[in-house]
Amino acid sequence: MSSVPVSAFLALALILFCIGLYGALTKRNTVIVLISIELMLNAVNINLVTFSKYGVNPSITGQVFALFAIAVAAAEAAVGLAILIALYRNRRTVNIDEMNQLKN
């Protein structure tokens, strides 16, 4: 039996998710918003791996799922950064408040 309860892992993931959510909603720099989203994805991965070990039905599936999530997150970071560079070429800014071309 483990000495660390399963709820401790879930609480850590919850704290990291909340930090990422707050950062993504309040920060004005697009790079920081992107990296906050990565932090939220990481918190979700902790949950997946935790349930793969301590869940009702422990199996390797949770870890495989976490690997898929990491692959998709890496692709998302690359595309997000490419969009950021393209926007920067057009508008000379990384401030997220000024990225409103789709508004009008």
């Binding site: 039996m1 483990s2 000495s3 660390v4 309860p5 399963v6 709820s7 401790a8 892992f9 879930l10 850590l12 919850l14 704290i15 990291l16 909340c18 930090i19 959510l21 707050y22 909603l25 309040t26 004005r28 720099n29 790079v31 920081i32 992107l34 990296i35 990565e38 932090l39 990481n42 991965n45 791996v49 935790t50 070990k53 009702v56 422990p58 390797i60 870890q63 495989v64 976490a66 690997l67 898929f68 990491i70 692959a71 998709v72 997150a73 890496a74 692709a75 998302e76 970071a77 690359a78 595309v79 950064l81 490419a82 969009i83 950021l84 560079i85 393209a86 920067y88 990384v94 408040d97």
Partner: protein
């Protein structure tokens, strides 16, 4: 709850992870924020080791602490910053409301998980972890695995096209 090495390892890793996250929110320079988050990513890799997911831990160090951090640093260095996060206009009330909203969300989820306890089922995840993942990937999850390669290819091509488009336009003007 007994005080064992596993418990201490978990507490210290969790502490470093949360401190990295808090520094992300509070530092002023953008580069420092990204470097602070590296601590969080490495600590999460340690948490994966505690959860007997060694392969995922190594992947975490390579992809997050390595690739994604470097790509974000490139993104910062290729764009011009004033070095510091610009102060948002009229942000006080908005920030407070957002903080309360996120706090409420956290409290609601915590109510659901704080007394969660499953029966400990003996498992063999720690034995030949990488081999188990490989067998599972190539037998049960072969179609999602191949689809992931398509996603990576699309992301690669899309990123190149997006980042190069304006170069050609500027070249036409000249």
């Amino acid at each position: 709850m007994t005080l064992t090495g596993e418990f201490f390892a978990f507490m210290s890793l969790a502490l470093v992870a949360v401190i990295g996250g808090v520094l992300l929110l509070n530092l002023t320079k953008v580069i420092h924020m990204v470097v602070a988050l590296v601590f969080t990513f490495v600590s999460i890799a340690g948490i994966y080791v505690l959860l007997s997911a060694e392969f995922v831990a190594v992947v975490q160090v390579m992809i997050y602490s390595g690739a994604i951090t470097i790509i974000m640093l490139f993104g910062i260095m290729l764009t011009r910053h004033h070095g510091e996060e610009a102060e948002p206009k009229g942000g006080g009330l908005r920030k407070l409301l957002l903080f309360l909203g996120v706090l409420g969300f956290g409290a609601a989820v915590y109510l659901g998980i704080y007394d969660l306890n499953f029966e400990a089922v003996p498992n063999t995840l720690h034995e030949n972890n990488t081999e188990q993942i490989g067998i599972s990937l190539y037998s049960q999850y072969i179609i999602p695995f191949e689809l992931t390669s398509v996603i990576l290819l699309v992301a690669l091509v899309g990123a190149i096209v997006l980042a190069r488009k304006d170069d050609e336009k500027e070249g036409d003007k000249e």
